[in-house]
Amino acid sequence: MLKLNETPVRTSRNFNINNIKLDDINIPDSIGNFENITIVNESSNIKIDNNVNNTNLTYGLGTILEKQVKENANQKLNILVDGKTNKELIVDFEFDEDNINLVDNIQVVANENSKATIIIKYQSLENIQAFHNGILKVIAKKNAHINIILLNLLNLKSYNFISVENELKQNAKVNYTIIDFGGKNSITNYYSNLLENNADNKINTIYLGKENQLFDFNYIGELRGEKANINIEVQGAIKDNANKHFKGTIDFKKGCKKAMGDESEFCMLLSDTAKSISLPMLLCSEEDVEGNHSSSAGKIGEKELFYIMSRGFELKEAMKLIVRAMFNKVLENIENKELQKQILKEINIRLD
């Protein structure tokens, strides 16, 4: 049994949320090569090599998976952003019969006053059981502005493990758009350290679960700088026997005066066997801050369904429309129209 993704603060063991235990997972010993990677980089301000620093993660998913990335990564990318660019960097990992296991270690260093958008995509063929375990580390220096779009479009047989860690310096802005649809198990540890004044981190996540999928999100934001700001918005829909665990922690450390932290989470339950657990934590050691969280769950409103169906749509189509509408705000963050289309197509397929 693999125990992963510990919350920064424990609560009663009976609540079943301090960590996630997986008993039907084998971490591959021999991972082989992963060569089906496409990188589109049209900007002269972005340099890529494979000199990644192996620093310890503050949280991460757990020792075994972290060690695997540090010792056996079969893809290492060190992305240096120096200057501003409007040209997106696209890193596309495609799992197929010959590229089944990916252990990737990606580091993004955004120099002072730099700006870029990075798209990292994981997708797979339908008939394979892929394994992905990765670390993504982002260091945003003074006034850097980085947008990251992270897509998990793996099939429902695969395993997806990812640890994200961000370090934000003065006035740095890091925005994440996370589309998490794939994997039999998709387990994410996300940690942001808002170290300096006016650091700003926004996370918009959408997820879509079906069959026996299990999502475990463990998002942690630590605010240290004055006027630092974090905003976590997570919304998704689950049907069949899918399970979603959301653990969100905003931790106001002493000294982060005038900092703000918001987290909101909404789970739409599309069947009476889907299950949602959430733990939106606020930890506060500083007086002069504003922290809010909200969490809600429920089924699709019958009135909305009735209205749409009275316009001639069938039930399934009406449900799709409502879910797409819910995701729309997040999808609008994605300027790449092709990518938007691909995500919308995935939503349609996965809701069928």
């Binding site: 603060v9 424990r10 609560t11 009663s12 063991r13 609540f15 079943n16 949320i17 301090n18 106001f252 002493k254 789970c267 339950l269 599309l270 069947s271 009476d272 066997t273 889907a274 299950k275 949602s276 657990i277 959430s278 733990l279 939106p280 934590m281 606020l282 930890l283 506060c284 050691s285 500083e286 007086e287 002069d288 801050v289 504003e290 922290g291 809010n292 969280h293 909200s294 969490s295 809600s296 769950a297 429920g298 089924k299």
Partner: protein
């Protein structure tokens, strides 16, 4: 500019120490021999003696919690679990020994009994020393007595319900309670009887290096209603005292129970209390809790909504000052259709105090069309204090309406500005905001307790908020 100070709670009344006099005090520690001796002292029936020994076994098997405040300073080898006061149970205050009566007089219990209560129980250390109830309730068949009397006179009811709602396996301190419990109140309200005036039990722990383990068992039968108030306090000693009481509430179909608590233990007290209610069809349990005392508190009342249409409300406030770590909250299990819960929790931290709101909402798959709404707010009055919110929401069916929201922060500058623009001084504005913050809770308390709470949040015009 002079700043406003929100005082630490004035504990003069609560800190009155009587001489540590007792009829019998068991030696410190926790062994089968000690448990047998407690059982002998209390003339337990054999089944209770066996029950205590089983609970001790479970206590020894279970681990300390791996979460929450650090309670490693608790050493059961240094705690006396049974202290028999030098009096038997009395039904008249004049028969209670002078020093004990004097303590309860100062706490205002006999006065409250005259003015606004239908019955009173008063426990001193490990035993109930006074119990009485108005004649008309006795005529209606209401039973309000100490647990020991209940164990003798209503043994079948006690045996059927005792630690069935809160099993000894729940956690280590419930097992401890099962092994050493003593005192507490038993209430039975017959079908259809409405008890309009509250009953109150007051628990006082005077003896140093000891524990109080009272057991409260309340059964509100079908269609009946009751308001029960418990109060607790103790003088401060240098070494830790322990409170590990247990409250079991059975609210039968169509019944109503309001359970109010004003907890004001001394700041050397570890308050590891357990409270649970099982709620029947269309019945309702309301919890109103004010938590002011204790060095460490871990208290999470729980409602199990087993009957269709069952309801619960939790209204609670915690006020943590210097050296206090109050880890409080609420748990609710929705276990039937059309159940509903409303939670309104507030906390104030100051002077290095730490408040945590910890909760569980579980809506099971058989609880379709259920609703739950949770709101918690935390106010930080300085930058050396701490305030955490740790809520778990576990939703296992789709036909639900669930929402949770929480806020954390200091007194709003805008609100102060607004009030000052209306002519209030900064100090008065802040005082008004703090009182307003606590008002939704204090308005749920009986008037004399609301006044006490407002006194506890006493504002002075010299000093500093933040």
């Amino acid at each position: 500019m002079s700043k406003t100070n929100i005082d630490e709670i004035n504990r003069n009344i609560y800190d009155i120490k009587n001489k540590d006099e007792y009829d019998y005090k068991i030696k410190k520690g926790l062994t089968a021999e000690i448990i047998n001796e407690i059982s002998r002292q209390k003339s337990d029936p054999e089944w209770m003696r066996q029950f205590r020994l089983k609970a001790l076994e479970v206590y020894n098997e279970l681990e300390l919690p791996t979460w929450g405040p650090d309670i490693s300073e608790l050493n059961m080898d240094e705690i006396a679990t049974y202290v028999k006061p030098k009096t038997d149970l009395k039904n008249s205050w004049k028969d209670v020994p002078e020093d004990i009566k004097d303590t309860f007089d100062k706490l205002g219990i006999p006065e409250a009994e005259k003015k606004s209560l239908a019955g009173v129980g008063a426990q001193y250390d490990s035993e109930v020393v006074y119990h009485s109830m108005k004649e008309e309730l006795i005529k209606q068949g209401v039973i309000y007595t100490d647990m020991e009397t209940a164990l003798r006179e209503y043994s079948e009811i006690v045996k059927e319900h005792f630690m069935k709602c809160v099993p000894i396996y729940d956690h280590k301190f419930v097992a401890l309670h099962g092994a050493v419990w003593s005192g507490g109140s038993f209430v039975y309200v017959p079908k259809g009887v409405k008890v309009d005036i509250p009953l109150q039990s007051y628990f006082r722990l005077n003896s140093p290096e000891s524990g109080q383990f009272e057991h409260t068992l309340i059964i509100v039968d079908e269609g009946a209603s009751l308001h029960f108030i418990e109060g607790c306090s103790a003088p401060k000693y240098n070494k830790v005292n322990l409170h590990a009481g247990c409250v079991e509430l059975y609210v039968k179909d169509n019944a109503y129970l309001r359970y109010s608590t004003i907890e004001n233990w001394s700041k050397n007290m570890l308050n590891l209390n357990t409270k649970k209610a099982v709620v029947g069809k269309n019945a309702q349990i309301d919890w109103v809790t004010g938590s002011f005392g204790s060095k460490i508190s871990m208290l999470y009342p729980m409602s199990i909504l087993n009957g269709k249409g069952a309801k619960t409300e939790y209204t609670g406030i915690s006020f943590a000052g210097k050296g206090q770590n109050l880890d409080n909250g609420f748990k609710v299990i929705h276990n039937a259709e059309n159940t509903s819960s409303v939670v309104n929790a507030k906390s104030i931290s100051k002077n290095g105090g730490s408040c945590t709101y910890r909760s569980l909402v579980r809506i099971n798959d058989n609880a379709k069309k259920s609703k739950c709404s949770v709101s918690c707010e935390s106010l930080m009055l300085d930058d050396i204090s701490k305030s955490d919110t740790i809520p778990v929401n576990d939703i296992r069916t789709d036909e639900v309406e669930f929402s949770h929201e929480a806020k954390i922060g200091k007194i709003s500058d805008k609100a102060i500005f607004y009030l000052m623009s209306r002519g209030l001084s900064e100090e008065d504005a802040k005082a008004m905001i703090v009182r307003g913050f606590a008002y939704p809770i204090s308005k749920e308390l009986p008037i004399e307790y609301a006044v006490e709470m407002n006194n506890l949040i006493n504002l002075e015009l010299d000093g500093a908020i933040g």
